[in-house]
């Protein structure tokens, strides 16, 4: 067992981690064993058609896409909070959610590409508006993370990053509405859930995917937030140590000076 005092873990976060692992095992069971592949019989030809087993990739791709929105919207809200209140909590939350969101966004692009090869017959389609806007979102937040690693005065860096996040997040409505606004410029289907064209175990497994990947997101956010908090605390601690050292030096100098003056007066 990890000592609580030397890690970002706590009994609560360990319980969350354990629940997440159990949830992931359950999701895999439903996604691979208990649900049927997407197979339909053609009314005219009688042949089987559909996505077959490739549909099992959607149980992770769709929840991760939605959680990418959640992560980047959290980043935007926290960035706005930082610009208004200038508190460290807002800045650490913004940075943590941007990093977790970028990991999620990268996985959304990769798993979407893997799903697209058998179902669409292509790994990538440059003309697809949703793919393009999602790739731009990933690049914008990769830029955000690179900006945060560029050395600068902390408050200035946090302010710049907050502005970038607030601009980057404007891409999310474009991604989300692209299938309606540019119906003939995307291979993506329109919303299945909004039109309720999903039912039974398929629907349940997709919902379970939202819950389980939500837990993964919460666990990652919790630990990443604590790392960010430690970074700030460490920076503050180092400055405090430096100040204390300089004070000690000055006091020594004062004493030496005093001794010197006393000695000079003799």
């Amino acid at each position: 067992m990890v000592d609580t005092t030397t890690s970002t873990g706590s009994p609560g976060s360990r319980l969350l981690g354990l629940t997440t692992l159990v949830g992931l095992a359950g999701l895999i069971l439903f996604a691979f064993v208990l649900t049927e592949p997407d197979v339909r019989l053609h009314p005219t030809t009688g042949e089987e058609f559909g996505q077959f087993d490739a549909v099992r990739l959607l149980y992770l791709h769709v929840p991760m896409a939605v959680l990418t929105y959640v992560a980047f919207l959290t980043c935007a809200v926290a960035s706005a909070g930082y610009l208004l209140k200038r508190g460290v909590w807002w800045d650490v939350t913004a940075y943590a959610s941007a990093e977790v969101g970028t990991v999620l966004c990268g996985l959304v692009l990769v798993t979407g590409s893997i799903w697209g090869r058998p179902v669409w017959n292509t790994w990538w389609e440059w003309g697809d508006v949703r793919l393009m806007t999602t790739l731009v979102l990933f690049l914008l937040f990769s830029g955000y993370l690179a900006l945060r690693r560029t050395p600068a005065e902390p408050q200035r860096q946090a302010r710049r990053a907050a502005i970038v996040a607030l601009v980057a997040v404007l891409d999310i409505p474009l991604i989300n509405r692209s299938v309606e606004w540019w119906e003939n410029r995307t291979l993506h289907q329109q919303s299945t859930l909004a039109e309720l064209k999903i039912e039974d175990l398929t629907l349940f497994t997709l919902m379970l995917g939202f819950v389980v990947f939500g837990l993964v997101f919460a666990w990652l956010m919790l630990h990443r937030f604590r790392v960010g908090w430690l970074e700030h605390a460490q920076a503050g601690h180092e400055v405090a140590l430096a100040i204390a050292e300089r004070h000690a030096e000055m006091e020594t100098l004062d004493v030496d000076e005093a001794i010197g003056q006393t000695g000079g007066g003799k």
Binding site: R40, G127, A146, R149, H237, I243
Partner: protein, 181 residues
């Protein structure tokens, strides 16, 4: 709960040392981060240029593609439509090809697609093809049950399947089109 770094605090006694701690950092530049930042900017520019360039390959529904056939000439474009039942495997200019008919509502267009069709290609499941109009009739067109046979066909070489949003198994509906739809 107190912030670990008190931004407002000026508690430095007779010495204000905070600027000294940050000055060297401001001058420093992490080359890795700067390179990543430049790569990201270059990536965004590339994606935008690529997308804008690709946008010239406009998506037309079959009925639109038929109505603007004269203006399109031999220009390459994307066409979206639903394949009708019936597929002929043949050869075109020495290459393997498949011939079938696309539709939107009651408008039909014959297609000669070079190469294999997509793995999940099925009648009733819309496809997006890339190619251009050719005057004439593709080989094997007479074997199709409901071909357009209007003296033109689409010669395409890129096919992707536009999957629908229906996951209801037996209750799922298919796109219906063709004469009498």
């Amino acid at each position: 709960m107190a912030d670990p770094v008190d931004e407002e605090s000026g508690e430095a006694g007779p010495l204000d040392l905070t600027p000294q701690a940050s000055r060297p950092q401001r001058r420093a530049r992490n080359p890795f981060s700067v390179v990543v930042l430049l790569l990201v900017v270059a990536g965004i520019v590339f994606v935008l240029l690529r997308t804008l360039g690709d946008a010239s390959l406009f998506f037309y529904e079959v009925d639109e593609a038929v109505s603007v056939r004269a203006e399109l000439g031999s220009e390459r474009f994307r066409v979206v439509g639903t394949p009708l039942p019936g597929l002929v495997e043949t050869r075109l200019d020495g290459q393997a090809a498949v011939v079938f008919t696309l539709c939107v509502a009651d408008v039909l267009a014959d297609v000669a697609h070079l190469g294999d069709p997509a793995e999940l290609f099925q009648p009733g499941v819309p496809v997006v093809l890339q190619g251009f109009w050719v005057s004439g009739e593709p080989p094997g067109i007479g074997s199709l049950p409901s071909a357009a046979e209007d003296g033109w066909y689409l010669r395409t070489d890129h096919m992707v399947v536009k999957h629908d949003n229906d996951y209801r198994g037996a209750d799922a509906e298919l796109e219906s089109c063709g004469v009498g739809s």
